[in-house]
């Protein structure tokens, strides 16, 4: 089982990059072994026969409509005070109107 779920360093690095994690060489080696063991657990799950079983997409289950306790009426409510929100961000200066973040030109991926 371990063989079919071995993890290659480049795959691990790619996953780390997507999660914006910096991995040192020795950390990568250790993690390869750990991730392989996690995948073994998933292999055990995947071995369960589920043919003909309806997929379960969410842990909180399915809600019908109506009645719909989980739908919100479209009413605007008060937002939080700006100073309180911006105060949680590390670079905020007094009287700022915006969050300040390191220069990020180039757009979303």
């Amino acid at each position: 089982m371990t063989d079919s779920h071995s993890v290659r360093i480049p795959d691990l690095r790619n996953a780390a990059h997507l999660a914006r994690l910096d991995l040192a060489e020795e950390e990568a080696v250790v993690l390869c072994g750990e991730v392989a063991r996690i995948l073994e657990h998933f292999a055990a799950l995947q071995a369960v026969p589920v043919a003909g079983v309806e997929p379960c997409y969410t842990a909180v289950g399915t809600r019908g409509l109506p009645p719909a306790p989980d739908l919100r009426e479209d009413n605007a409510q008060a937002s939080l005070p700006r100073a309180a929100l911006l105060g949680l961000a590390p670079q905020t200066q007094p009287d700022d109107e915006f969050y300040r973040v390191p220069k990020a030109i180039g757009g979303a991926p």
């Binding site: 969410t58 909180v60 399915t62 109506p66 969050y99 973040v101 990020a104 757009g107």
Partner: protein, 488 residues
């Protein structure tokens, strides 16, 4: 490179190589739903609000906050699907789409990947071509990042969490003008269904274009995506630019110009597209089902309620008006500019106005009188006025002044006509009396008319109408003058 469009086709000829090329275009349109509050929290959706003043724990991703779906956004998304002929999924769920950027506080966007609300459907172009829709899904908008004010990137989260639908077409479009026609029709259908105001200046409709070129009959070429076009003119210009650029690159054989699948941005100033980034493999968004929101079941009654809100599609409405009421195509087009205007016009016709005259009076007099004319008038008031004009009881000039009074004071048109004595005189004997008076001492003109110079009668028209103080119909007066001369 200057490709030449081949007449009446969607193919282009390369003058250098004699090769024929065609375009393959698909569109992804983000449209902001007309809700008062955001998709998963109660913050107000308000364009132009002071930065970061419409933000709460949910849309700024504070730990422990949980999303709750806005019922109206769900209803509008379903209605959009119905307006475009899509199948509505009976069961659907949200997914997380992961990426890191400063305008996305959670580190993921709540969107839909595997089970969108709507699949199929499409928009038919005037040529009869069907532009098929792959899907429409519901998702939240990101915040706004500003890069050009000092050493920091500034982030405003007012827009984060605003509800959007994204509609994706198949690669069915083959010319810039087809893309523009599709977008125009899509926008109009969404507006008329009440799904969105589609105000492009407020970013309520944004378009991504996928475009590639190929030789006729060949498989798909390498496509590029041009992101975030906020005007139909730019969509057409960007497609035209890409056509020329891609064909030039392919025909050059230059490895440096080799086309790569990438995202490009439209440079409005220079009129060119620029590479934004090269995709290293497919973007890996690591979709997973959103665990904080339940799977949704949409009962048939929910879907049918939205269907009843749709109203008649604007294109069908225009066709019906032209066929039933003989409206000019131009007038039908103008009157379906908004659902509100179209409904208003129909209400006036239902109140008894003759349709053609009513269309022309609305467009030429009412809408040009003042910007908020429609909100100051009732359809039945315009119907009453137009009916009097059409029956010859009130002159056009009088109708205009009646309209002014009704707009300013709300007085019923019939009352204004009565009070100001504007009703035309239809009594034949009275009109004859004015005409006889006008003929007195005009023997020379009478002789001319009798000699066959009918136009000479026009010299008598002014005096006769003056005697009638503008309350006689000019055509009737002319007829009467000619008859009296003939009988004399």
């Amino acid at each position: 490179m200057n490709l030449v469009r081949q007449a009446n086709t969607t193919t282009w000829l390369s003058p250098h190589t004699g090769q024929v090329w065609e375009l393959v275009i698909g569109l992804e349109v983000h449209c902001q739903l007309a809700t008062r509050s955001k998709l998963f929290c109660g913050c107000a959706v308000e364009f132009g609000a002071a930065p970061n003043t419409r933000v709460c724990a949910v849309c700024s991703a504070q730990p422990g906050s949980l999303p709750v779906l806005n019922g109206e956004a769900l209803r509008l998304a379903v209605r959009a699907g119905l307006a475009l002929g899509c199948s509505i999924a009976a069961r659907t769920h949200f997914d997380r789409k992961h990426y890191f950027y400063c305008d996305l506080p959670k580190g993921y966007q709540i969107s839909q990947a595997t089970r969108p609300f709507c699949t199929g459907g499409g928009v038919r172009l005037r040529s009869g071509k069907l532009v098929r829709l792959q899907r429409i899904h519901l998702e939240e908008d990101a915040g706004k990042a500003i890069h050009d004010r000092g050493p920091w990137t500034l982030v405003d989260l007012n827009r984060a969490g605003v509800p959007l639908i994204e509609s994706v077409t198949e690669a069915d479009l083959s010319a810039p003008e087809e893309a523009v026609e599709y977008l125009t029709a899509l926008k109009e259908m969404l507006q008329h269904a009440g799904v969105s105001a589609c105000d492009m200046e407020k970013g309520e409709l944004r378009c991504d274009v996928n475009v590639s070129v190929r030789k006729p009959g060949a498989g798909y070429g390498t496509k590029v995506e041009i992101k975030n076009l906020n005007s139909f003119r730019f969509v057409a210009a960007a497609i035209e630019y890409e056509l020329q650029r891609q064909v030039a690159a392919l025909e050059s054989g230059d490895p440096a110009q080799r086309l790569v699948q990438e995202t490009r941005l439209w440079d409005t100033e220079q009129g060119v597209t620029r590479s934004m980034r090269t995709k290293e493999g497919a973007a890996d968004y690591r979709y997973m089902p959103e665990p904080d929101l339940p799977e949704l079941q949409l009962p048939a009654s929910f879907v049918e309620r939205e269907r009843s809100m749709l109203g008649e599609p604007p294109a069908e409405r225009r066709a019906r008006w032209q066929q039933q009421w003989h409206l000019a195509a131009k007038d039908a087009e103008a009157l379906t500019h908004t659902r509100e205007l179209a409904d208003w016009f129909e209400a006036a016709v239902r109140a008894g106005a003759p349709p053609k005259e009513c269309a022309s009076f609305l467009l030429n007099e009412v809408l040009t009188a003042q910007p908020d004319s429609l909100s100051l008038l009732l359809p039945r008031q315009v119907a009453a006025l137009v009916t009097m004009v059409a029956a010859g009881e009130v002159s056009h000039a009088s109708a205009r002044s009646v309209l002014r009074v009704t707009l300013a004071e709300g007085t019923e048109p019939e009352v204004v006509v009565q009070q100001q004595g504007l009703r035309m005189v239809l009594d034949t004997r009275q009109i004859e009396a004015w005409c006889r008076q006008a003929l007195v001492g005009r023997e020379a003109i009478i002789a001319d008319v009798k000699a066959g110079k009918v136009a000479a009668v026009n010299a008598l028209l002014g005096p006769a109408l003056k005697l009638a103080a503008g309350k006689a119909n000019a055509a009737v007066v002319r007829e009467t003058l000619l008859r009296l001369i003939a009988e004399s």
